[in-house]
């Protein structure tokens, strides 16, 4: 008979299988399912369209951030092109949906695969370049993709952008914030689960080995270049999927959002969330998205109340300043990120009231 296990006070595992489980205890698993249940039950009933929009943005961003964390946090290849890959996904979906009439259900994964291909092409320099040299090569990728999106007018309509048809899933129309909420979050859960699985099998182990010591990894029979490319591919696949969903959700795509700033924001997310930590990527994505919205809301109030209007202050710089400050403070005070804070909180709660 299967025994329910709550928190262990020692190592009582009697089978290797238990060591392969994601959760140490059934309690953890239970809590997760309850959490997911609550999310799906509560969010649709409680939210205003605006909060739903924020929640959905968090979901989409999280998918892309998980992808970046696989590349940066696990494989150790710092990429400054993730924003552009997100854009490639968005444009791929938009072009497939408009010029080829591809349905939503196929367009999204197809966009993911196309982005994965693009990501692998821009990952080729990783075969030769190490560390920061590679980072700059991905920065080049960012600019090249941006340029292509704007100037390949026959395909991307240049600065005019593309308007997408309505998404429909097996005949059901996906409409409005609530419709997308279900799609986005079911997808997020699936993508998170897949990422966790990849990371606990030989692929994840190989990625980490390449990050920590590529020579030793090679000595373990891991073909470094192929795995770096694979990591670029998986990472861009996530970005592509997220971008595609985003395109459908936003109804139209233009080139502006996919700039270097977006790439930097993604890096900020995974650092603030915790490098090499999948739940951390979600936490970081949530944090940055909420921070952006909070700053927008705050500057909105300032402008409406005309408090500083006399001083001729522009609010965009203030937002930029606070954004920078948050990153700086985070790195100075908790470089291991939100995931670490969460871990500390949890472990002090788990043993409560008998901590220590």
């Amino acid at each position: 008979m299967k025994k329910l296990r709550f928190h262990p006070c020692g190592n009582f595992r009697d089978h290797y299988k238990q060591e392969l489980a994601i959760f140490e205890t059934d309690f953890g698993r239970l809590m997760l399912w309850i959490g997911i249940g609550l999310l799906f039950a509560a969010v649709p009933t409680l939210s205003s369209p605006y909060t739903l929009y924020v929640v959905n943005t968090v979901g989409i961003t999280s998918i892309a951030a998980i992808g970046l964390n696989i590349l940066v946090g696990y494989t150790g290849q710092i990429s400054l092109g993730h924003g552009a890959f997100f854009g490639v996904g968005a444009y791929a979906a938009a072009i497939l949906a408009t010029s080829a009439n591809v349905p939503f259900l196929i367009a999204v994964p197809a966009a993911g695969l196309i982005t994965a291909m693009v990501g692998m092409i821009f990952g080729i320099p990783s075969g030769r370049l190490k560390g920061l040299y590679l980072t700059i090569a991905t920065l080049a990728g960012q600019f090249i993709i941006e340029y292509t999106i704007i100037h390949w007018e026959s395909l991307t309509m240049g600065t005019r952008g593309i308007t997408l048809p309505e998404a429909s899933l097996l005949g059901i129309r996906v409409r409005g914030d609530l419709g997308f909420f279900y799609v986005i979050f079911i997808l997020l859960i699936a993508m998170t689960w897949i990422a966790v699985n990849i990371m606990r099998t030989r692929y994840g182990r190989a990625f980490i080995a390449i990050r920590d010591n590529d020579r030793a990894a090679e000595g373990m029979g891991i073909p470094i270049f192929q795995y770096k490319l694979l990591s670029f591919g998986i990472s861009s696949f996530y970005a592509g999927i997220a971008g595609a969903i985003w395109a459908y959700y936003m109804i139209s795509v233009t080139a502006e959002p996919f700039n270097l700033m977006l790439s930097v924001e993604y890096i900020a997310m995974i650092i603030i969330g915790g490098l090499g930590n999948i739940p951390g990527a979600i936490l970081g994505a949530t944090f940055i998205t909420l921070l952006n919205e909070l700053l927008r809301w705050f500057t909105g109030i300032l402008i409406n109340t005309n408090l500083f209007a006399g001083l001729g202050l522009n609010m965009a710089p203030l937002r930029e300043f606070v954004f920078g400050l948050t990153i700086v403070l985070f790195i100075l005070f908790e470089p291991r990120g939100l995931a670490e804070i969460w871990r500390i909180l949890r472990s002090s709660f788990r043993l409560w009231p008998f901590s220590y």
């Binding site: 290797y16 299988k17 060591e19 392969l20 897949i194 699985n197 990849i198 606990r200 099998t201 030989r202 692929y203 182990r205 190989a206 980490i208 080995a209 920590d212 010591n213 020579r215 030793a216 990894a217 090679e218 000595g219 373990m220 029979g221 891991i222 073909p223 470094i224 694979l230």
Partner: protein, 276 residues
């Protein structure tokens, strides 16, 4: 020699054909940074042999190992393993062919546990693909468990039970060397290349290590190349010794032959055990 501990099944189950490890390196020449590290070196290893390579620092011992294991590409010369030409193969391909190694300056993953370090070495023995892995199918789980069993046998053999869950970075130096040996064994190599496995060890740790090597060589017929400076170890366990000096082969033969070679004494051993 009789086996005293359980023999890991990956080695016990080997058929005679699977242990074959005949290495034939001819005329290896390697230059870099204006230095000739290897100058036309020949090296033969026969199945079941424990061959030691000795020589002064900078004589090209590690360069030789690096050429055999694919880390360096020799400018001239050829290497054949079991009759197959492997001259320009990359390191990871050579691991699949059956050449595993340890490193002079420990190249473990210090942030990982001993188990995770060893699990990495099972990479080439995993058969599942990316699709199965991403869904963590039952077959994947079973395979992972099988690898875990293999590792437990190795841990048992190397007497590392107490440290299997410890982070490698927190272990003493001598233990790290042992973990590195364990990791190399987890590759299931036909030819095991050991670069100074005894460096920095005290007598006790050296004796343990010698026991493991002798048992691997004696009971499983594991073929090994060993680079080492501790002459008392080399002379008592190696079956054949190759001496390198300035990138060239100075002498080759049984330990007794090599030890009495005047050239070797002059270039490498010195004449007495005392300092002054």
């Amino acid at each position: 020699m009789k086996s005293l501990r359980g023999q890991p099944s990956i080695f016990a189950g080997r058929k005679p054909g699977e242990v074959r490890a005949d290495l034939d390196a001819r005329n290896l020449t390697l230059r870099f940074g204006g230095v000739t590290a290897l100058d036309g070196v020949d090296l033969q290893v026969r199945t079941g042999e424990l061959l030691a390579v000795i020589g002064p620092n900078g004589a090209g011992k590690t360069s030789l190992l690096n050429c055999i294991t694919g880390y360096y590409k020799a400018q001239q010369g050829a290497v054949a393993f079991n009759g197959v030409d492997i001259t320009n193969r990359t390191t990871h391909e050579l691991v699949r062919v059956g050449i595993g190694r340890t490193f002079q300056n420990i190249e473990l993953f210090p942030g990982m546990t001993v188990l995770s370090n060893m699990l990495l070495a099972r990479h080439t023995h995993c058969s599942y693909g990316l699709g199965a892995a991403s869904l963590f199918l039952g077959a994947v789980r079973e395979e992972e468990i099988r690898h875990r069993r293999v590792l437990e046998e190795l841990i048992d053999f190397l007497e590392m039970q107490a440290i299997r869950k410890k982070t490698v970075g927190s272990l003493p130096y001598g233990m790290m060397k042992r973990v590195e040996l364990g990791r190399a064994l987890a590759l299931e190599p036909k030819l095991l290349v050991l670069d100074e496995p005894f460096a920095g060890m005290n007598l006790e740790e050296k004796e343990d290590m010698v026991r493991f090597l002798l048992e691997m060589n004696g009971a499983w017929g594991q073929t090994m190349i060993l680079v080492e400076h501790d002459m008392s170890i080399v002379m008592s366990i190696a079956q054949r010794v190759v001496v390198l000096n300035f990138g060239e082969k100075l002498a080759e033969g049984t330990p007794e032959q090599v030890r009495s070679e005047p050239e070797v004494i002059k270039a490498y051993l010195g004449d007495t055990e005392t300092v002054l």
